[in-house]
């Protein structure tokens, strides 16, 4: 009875920045779609309580919302100057656009409008921003649901009696791609948030030439401001206090803009205040596409590097996530995924891929019967200061519809099936210091080869009895000297609307490969996904590359960057730390190569 394993080990999510918002929105949607519809899946699989909290709105309605704090700027679409006096609680601006800051769940139906002012009252009301078709459908569905049974749609998820929402939406959305009507992340956020979730930074905004949050120092100083600091502490306190067992924090943070500074401060605060908890930080960068190097790119590079150094030092584990080929000044071609033809310029697409990867990467500490917590996961990687890890994903996991898992893995004897999503370039050899691999979406019957007893198995993989053994055996063959842990889940990743439909036509509804494209294309419902978190030597060259690039930058040209709070000496120190960090990943095989690079 002493064990905490029976109770969900809660984790708090923080989303810092616009792109983090995009990834987060997709991630919550994925989790929402995967909420168990019945109690049959109890005891195994993912536990939604790790990342969600149950609550009660003032009107007594039960709610089930993400345990989330998100920070974002205003601006993004509308000119803010035209704003008149909005109805309190309804001011929807910026990236939130149509999303009310307080969320709509906890709105008091009979809002107390009595005013203590005795004079005349004039009410100015701004028209709410237009919603796209998806949101209109969503609110229509929610409207009719809540009027029917006096229950919000989220109440269904809570009572686990099956949510009618996904299927109905899916039908109404088929063949109506959202790409055109999506501008900000709240345009495709399906879940509803708790009023304590959204924290808007009013000092800066997205558009306009002034007041952009574009330097690390600005972000850092933002949290020196007692108003934001107290607000953050209050929100953290609200979520943390109610958790019986808090396993840690997962932070999604933009790396390319000033939010890397916000993230650095936030992780520092968490590190000081909640020692012993895991802090998993995912540094996100959208796909970089410009061809010419401009001043903005220097800023981006410096933000990224300062972010990597500070975030990794205060977090238990730090993982850069991006579809960009490189985080350096000169962009490289974005990562290509064989069966997902995404549009690299659309954040809506690229963030969906990262969110799917995240949903699977985070499986180890989200399991119902979780043997490990975030802190333990981090500890396993943290050997000799290796706090940075890389992430890789095969999305979807390439497996033909009639194949079994051993068959599918046999095709990847030479190279691993996943592509790296950490902007580190291609690994030269498949050696790494440690890894946690998750494969999901493979049904029980496909996990092992059902060859008749007595016949000679085709390979060692085919000889294994269970899917877990197959995966373990495969990893052992690929990475003989690496400490690997692997997880196998039957539940796939459910990709229902508003998930972009960018998958190859060769996939069937469950995301398995077909030989020929089907005559009538059917919408994809779910995909199997394979991901890996690795502490890999490829980081040595990647971090060194950033270090060298920054050394070449003439820092005097970026005087304005240093006027925003970061001292030049601090920056030099950070550069030095980056080098130290890189050296943690040095292996004998890359030693010779690095000397070559130094000499030129």
């Amino acid at each position: 009875m002493f064990e905490a394993g029976g109770l969900p080990r809660a984790a708090l999510t923080l989303q810092l920045g616009g792109y983090a918002g995009c990834v987060g929105a997709h991630w919550w949607n994925l989790q929402d779609a995967a909420l168990p519809c019945s109690s049959e899946a109890q005891g195994q699989g993912l536990c939604p309580d790790v990342l969600h909290r149950a609550g009660r709105s003032p009107s007594g309605q039960e709610t089930y919302t993400p345990r989330l704090i998100l920070m974002d700027l205003k601006g993004g679409r509308e000119p803010t100057g035209s704003r008149t006096v909005a109805v309190p609680g309804q001011d929807a601006l910026g990236n939130l656009n149509t999303l009310p800051q307080e969320g709509c769940l906890y709105g008091d139906p009979k809002r107390d409008t009595s005013v203590a002012w005795q004079g005349n009252l004039i009410t100015h009301q701004e028209d709410p921003p237009t919603r796209n078709l998806f949101l209109q459908d969503l609110s229509k569905l929610q409207g009719c649901l809540s009027s029917e049974g006096d229950l919000g749609p989220r109440a269904h998820a809570l009572s686990k009696d099956g949510s009618p929402l996904p299927t109905q939406l899916h039908v109404s959305q088929k063949g109506r791609p959202l790409e055109g009507s999506v501008q900000v992340w709240s345009d495709y956020l399906r879940v509803r948030l708790h009023p304590r979730s959204t924290c808007m930074i009013r000092q800066y905004n997205y558009d306009g030439e002034s007041c952009q949050l574009e330097a690390f120092g600005q972000g850092e100083s933002l949290l020196h401001d007692p108003t934001y600091q107290e607000e953050l502490e209050d929100r953290l306190h609200f979520y943390v206090e109610e958790c019986d067992y808090l396993q840690g924090f997962q932070i999604l943070c933009d790396l390319d803009n000033g939010f890397s500074g916000v993230g650095a401060k936030v992780t520092e605060l968490l590190h000081d205040e909640y020692s012993g908890r895991g802090i998993l930080t995912w540094g996100l960068t959208p796909v970089i596409q410009n061809t010419e190097v401009s001043g903005k790119d220097f800023y981006r590079l410096m933000n990224t590097v300062l972010g990597i150094v500070h975030l990794s030092s205060h977090s238990s584990l730090f993982c850069p996530l991006s579809l960009s080929g490189s985080l350096g000044l000169r962009p490289e071609a974005p990562v290509t995924l064989p069966y997902a033809h995404y549009e690299a310029s659309l954040n809506y697409h690229s963030s969906a891929i990262l969110a799917t990867a995240l949903d699977t990467l985070s499986v180890p500490y989200r399991l119902q019967s979780s043997p490990i917590s975030m802190a333990q996961l981090a500890d396993a990687f943290n050997v000799s200061g290796r706090k940075v890890v890389t992430a890789g994903a095969a999305l979807p996991f390439p497996m033909a519809h009639d194949q079994s898992l051993p068959d599918a893995l046999c095709n990847y004897q030479l190279a691993v099936p996943w592509a790296l999503l950490s902007s580190c370039g291609e690994p030269k050899d498949s050696c790494c210091f440690g890894q946690a691999v998750v494969l999901r979406g493979i049904g029980k019957e496909k996990q092992s080869c059902n060859c008749p007893p007595g016949s000679q198995p085709k390979s060692a993989l085919h000889a294994c009895g269970t899917g877990e053994e197959v995966l373990e055996c495969y990893l052992h063959a690929q990475f003989p000297e690496t400490f690997s842990t692997s997880y196998l889940l039957q539940e796939p990743c459910k990709v229902s609307t508003p998930y972009p439909q960018f998958f190859s036509a060769l996939l069937n509804t469950q995301g398995f490969l077909l030989d020929n494209p089907p005559r009538c294309s059917t919408a994809l419902e779910s995909i199997p996904v394979l991901t890996a978190v690795q502490s890999s030597p490829v980081l040595y060259s990647a971090l060194c590359r950033l270090y060298k690039e920054l050394q070449r930058v003439n820092l005097r040209r970026c005087a304005s960057y240093f006027s925003a709070g970061v001292e030049l000496s601090d920056f030099q120190e950070a550069l030095h730390e980056l080098r130290t960090l890189a050296q943690c990943y040095e292996t004998s095989s890359v030693l010779g190569e690095s000397e070559d690079e130094d000499s030129d």
Partner: protein, 465 residues
């Protein structure tokens, strides 16, 4: 603030600085700088060099400060005066009914935390929001309000005459780094480790229970544990069985306030617990509002930290009151620290303007125009006061000036009638240091802006904004 025009952003920065230093006078700042520039423009367009105008400004400022020193009223800062000062500040920010409630609250708050011969630390006034009822329910709690409650169903919701133990000790089972790892060798080993660690926590809980038994004995006194770290369900259960109410994860900033409010010492370990470490409160109760819980720690013997509980029907009202309360607290603090106040309602400005006009002949040359401009500019304050209350600014101004020169007393605008009134008699007092800061910063910035020939914008300006 999002301001692109460089001049405007300069003025906005002065207002911010004014707020940082004195906590009040931001609007006056913007008004006076604007008016100084407007008055100067009259002369400059007639050919007067801006440099001469600024010389006049400088001379006028010196004189104005002299007048300020002369008319300031040094008196004992009793509650009545402080209430007057706070009211003057708050009535400009929220409507009268609410302002009067807040006035009393902020003055009592500051008086409670004030220690003789020590600077006042406003940080010791906790401001707590509650989205509930109407704004006029805002009140001062002589104690502390925490925005969380006990997390065990068996713990009492209301405890009277209670000992308070504030501590920063983890009472929750965490897997430490030593025992963590991907796998344990076998199940028994794991079980053993878990038990050993669990025992460690249990010992701590037992020490607290021992202390409770020692101090409470058979009496019906209550015992409250307020912990900055976590308390897990097993520990909560053990504490609840002994009739102890335990709150976990108190905010760091409340720990210091707690010991100030209830007495006692915040403990970092349970090894050396003595009854001396305990604080005391007359009443502790929980208040549930939707899914939020509040714990009131009240009736403390000699609270050195108090809480202003702000209530309001919506977020907007709460923010508005919070800002007003902050300003009110600052005003009271300023008054106590200055030891003097000056007459408000535009009376000071009228007096200074009058003195400047008289002083003008003593200034050499064309700089006299600068002095005149300064004098005229200051009159914007009574003018705006009159205008905002719906009277004719010029008519009111003339009335006040006449009254002032006839009586020689400090005369301000009565906002209810639009007639002149004796500011001091009506109890309209402003902070001395706010006015002083205003005179300084407005002159400097207006002079600076006047001396700028041309503004060029280049490069990435946003970082400097």
């Amino acid at each position: 603030m999002q301001i692109q025009h460089p001049t405007a952003s300069l003025i906005a920065k002065v207002a911010t600085a004014q707020d940082d230093i004195t906590g009040d006078g931001t609007t006056s700042n913007v008004l006076i700088i604007g008016e100084l520039l407007k008055q100067a423009d009259l002369y400059i367009s007639e050919g007067l060099h801006p440099r001469i105008v600024t010389e006049g400004f400088e001379a006028a400022k010196e004189k104005a400060l002299e007048v300020l020193e002369k008319v300031k009223v040094t008196k004992e800062m009793d509650r009545e005066t402080l209430v007057d000062v706070a009211r003057t500040s708050l009535r400009t920010k929220v409507h009268a009914e609410l302002a009067d409630i807040l006035t009393e609250a902020v003055v009592d708050a500051v008086l409670a935390i004030k220690k003789p011969n020590e600077p006042i630390d406003l940080y010791m006034v906790e401001i707590m929001e509650m989205k509930h009822k109407s704004e006029t329910e805002t009140a001062l709690i002589k104690g502390l309000v925490l925005d969380h409650g006990a997390r065990h169903p068996d713990m009492k919701k209301r405890v009277e005459d209670a000992y308070i133990l504030t501590c920063n000790v983890s009472l929750e089972y965490e897997k430490t780094e030593v025992s963590s790892g991907f796998f344990y060798k076998n199940a028994e080993e794991r079980e053993k480790l878990v038990k050993a660690e669990r025992k460690f926590i249990e010992d701590r809980v037992n020490k607290i229970i021992d202390l409770k038994k020692r101090v409470c004995g058979d009496s019906d006194k209550g015992f409250i544990v307020i912990n900055q770290k976590g308390i897990d369900p097993f520990s909560l259960d053990a504490l609840a069985k002994e009739g102890i109410v335990a709150l976990r994860r108190a905010k760091r900033r409340n720990m210091e306030r707690l010991t100030l409010a209830c007495g006692g010492i915040a403990m970092n370990s349970v090894d050396d617990l003595t009854p001396d470490c305990l604080g005391h409160a007359g009443l502790v109760y929980e208040y549930v509002l939707g899914e939020e819980k509040f714990t009131f720690v009240e009736k403390c013997d000699n609270p050195r930290s108090v809480t202003l509980l702000i209530r309001g029907p919506n977020k907007h009202t709460l923010t508005q009151i919070k800002d007003a309360v902050r300003d009110g607290l600052r005003a009271v603090k300023n008054a106590i620290e200055d030891g003097c106040v000056v007459a408000g309602a535009g009376a000071l400005e009228v007096a200074i303007a009058d003195a400047l006009v008289k002083h003008k002949p003593n200034v050499k040359g064309r700089a006299q125009f600068g002095v005149q401009a300064f004098a005229d500019a200051l009159l914007i304050i009574p003018k705006v006061l009159a205008q905002n209350s719906g009277y004719d600014p010029q008519e009111t101004l003339v009335k006040i000036q006449t009254e002032y020169s006839e009586s020689g007393q400090l005369i301000g605008v009565d906002l209810n009638t639009g007639e002149p009134m004796m500011a001091a008699a009506a109890g309209v007092w402003d902070n001395y240091n706010v006015k002083k800061q205003l005179l300084h910063s407005c002159t400097v910035i207006a002079s600076n802006i006047l001396l700028v020939d041309e503004i060029m914008r280049a490069g990435m300006s946003s970082l400097k904004g």
